[in-house]
């Protein structure tokens, strides 16, 4: 009886370990399903035009579904990221290498040009923006609020949802503020 118990216990522990590993991998593969399309996302013409006009080796796209900003934590984190980037580049007398891609459709009408400008003004968001359709947002596999960084070889090197965990946040800022060292790394993108 005690032998059976030990065998069962071992099987249980092995299964637990496997589930643990699978659980860990889940986070790493968070965006793997949509990565192929996300890698091509910046090539969407209106987006590419804006990205080409920005200076810097690595460039940021903040993709947002404005309705998802109802989540206070998400909204706060999104605005904090915008603030930190703006402050850093303002001190260096540079424009942040960042743009917004906004999903069409907002129950508050914030995707309407004048209301969108008012919202950006009130919240000190100075990044250029493009509005894309819901179907395109889905096609590229974008999450409601997401940060995507592309390098100058046109590779997706970072893709994470907002609110962003601390461990990714540091990498995120390094990629945008210290372009020399991190280009070859790949965070949240398993293709490259």
């Amino acid at each position: 009886m005690s032998k059976n118990f030990l065998i069962n216990k071992k099987i249980f522990l092995v299964l637990l370990f496997i589930f643990f590993i699978l659980g860990c991998n889940k986070e790493g593969n968070e965006h793997s399903g949509g990565n192929e399309k996300l890698s091509e996302f910046f090539k969407h013409q209106p987006i590419k035009e804006i990205l080409d006009s920005l200076e810097g080796k690595n460039k940021l796209i903040m993709a947002i579904d404005i309705n998802a900003l109802e989540c206070q934590v998400c909204y706060d984190d999104f605005l904090n990221i915008c603030d930190e980037l703006s402050e850093y580049f303002f001190k260096k007398n540079l424009k942040p290498p960042a743009m917004l891609v906004i999903k069409e459709g907002s129950y508050l009408g914030l995707d309407q040009p004048e209301r969108l400008e008012a919202w950006k003004k009130y919240n000190n968001i100075n990044f250029p923006h493009v509005i894309i359709s819901d179907s395109l947002f889905k096609y590229y596999g974008l999450k409601p609020i997401m940060a995507l960084i592309y390098n100058n070889q046109e590779n997706l090197i970072f893709a994470k949802e907002i609110p962003m965990k601390k461990k990714y946040r540091k990498i995120f800022f390094e990629l945008l503020t210290n372009n020399q060292t991190k280009n070859s790394n790949n965070y949240g993108n398993n293709k490259n």
Partner: protein
């Protein structure tokens, strides 16, 4: 023949009452002003408002991190606020506002911080309370009443003075328990005679308390379900956690003659438009249907009704005729 007489009498009685009801239902509202009508996109998302004795109206524009001050004609006089960590800045989005004489109390969203401003929108001070604030109102002696949510998920009323000193705490009678997340949220209003009238969001119960913290009575509104629908949000081995998926009541306010106006939620005949006007005994005095869906109501002692529309993009001032 006698039966026919009784039936005819009953029918006439019904008709007379029906016409009286209809007359009450047609109680008219005259639109006096649309706040900031001349400015485009005046509100990104208005969430709360208050009117002071001087006649100015203050609106919280949550997505703009601003408090906007209007005169009674709806002209924007001043606006303040910004997101930030400096003195007077909002660390989180402003959400609720209440006024008492020369003071405005503002609560941030999902926060336990109260910020006090003068009616000229100058920042005065802040203090923290012992829970997350989800409703706010002054009583007529200037104490601040707050609907609070504790870390354990329990809701209650707390009273603070303007120095931030806690005066008392009141546990309400209806608590659905810890397995019902956000099921015990409520709105409340304070009458001039010092009664606290509480409308639960997910339970068809109105509780009446006095300012000393003594329970007076409770009542329900006829025609509405006892509880809101719910859905399971998480399972554990021995229990399930639920959240309400609909609202029975959306807001509450006190008007002239201490009548209580309760804005119905999803289950009303006209969701977010029907106002149940009751006295504090729970006797329905009239029912009103607002001209549009509304997220928040505010009544003044001058027979005025201020509303924030469902989306929070416009604020209108009506007068009862």
């Amino acid at each position: 023949m006698a039966r026919l007489k009784v039936f005819s009498f009953a029918f006439l009685f019904f008709l007379s009452n029906f016409s009286a009801l209809y007359k009450e239902a047609s109680y008219k509202l005259k639109r006096e002003a649309v706040l900031g009508e001349k400015q485009k996109h005046i509100f990104l998302k208005a969430t709360s408002l208050a009117k002071t004795d001087e006649g100015n109206i203050y609106v919280v524009d949550q997505y703009a991190y601003r408090i906007k001050m209007f005169n009674s004609k709806g002209i924007l006089l001043k606006e303040v606020g910004r997101r930030g960590k400096n003195k007077g800045d909002f660390k989180k989005m402003p959400y609720l506002i209440a006024s008492y004489k020369s003071n405005l109390a503002i609560a941030e969203f999902n926060s336990s911080r109260v910020r006090l401003f003068s009616t000229n929108l100058e920042y005065l001070k802040s203090f923290n309370v012992d829970g997350i604030i989800f409703d706010i109102s002054f009583d007529f002696s200037g104490n601040l009443w707050l609907g609070l949510l504790s870390l354990e998920g329990k809701t209650y009323l707390s009273v603070y003075d303007l120095q931030g000193k806690k005066i008392k705490k009141i546990d309400l009678r209806y608590n659905l328990g810890k397995d019902f997340e956000f099921g015990d949220l409520f709105n409340f209003a304070i009458t001039k005679t010092g009664l606290i009238v509480v409308a639960h969001t997910a339970v068809n119960k109105i509780e009446v308390w006095n300012i000393k913290g003594e329970f007076i009575r409770e009542f329900s509104i006829g025609g509405l379900p006892e509880y809101s629908e719910k859905k399971v949000i998480s399972y554990s081995l021995f229990s399930k956690k639920y959240i309400p998926t609909k609202k029975i009541f959306q807001d509450i306010a006190v008007g002239m003659n201490d009548l209580v106006y309760i804005l119905g939620g999803h289950y009303s005949s006209n969701p977010f438009q029907d106002l149940y006007v009751v006295d504090y005994n729970g006797v329905i005095k009239r029912n009103l249907t607002l001209p549009e869906k509304v997220s928040s109501i505010y009544l003044t002692q001058e027979n005025e009704l201020l509303i924030i529309d469902e989306m929070g993009v416009s604020v209108k001032l009506y007068r009862f005729e």
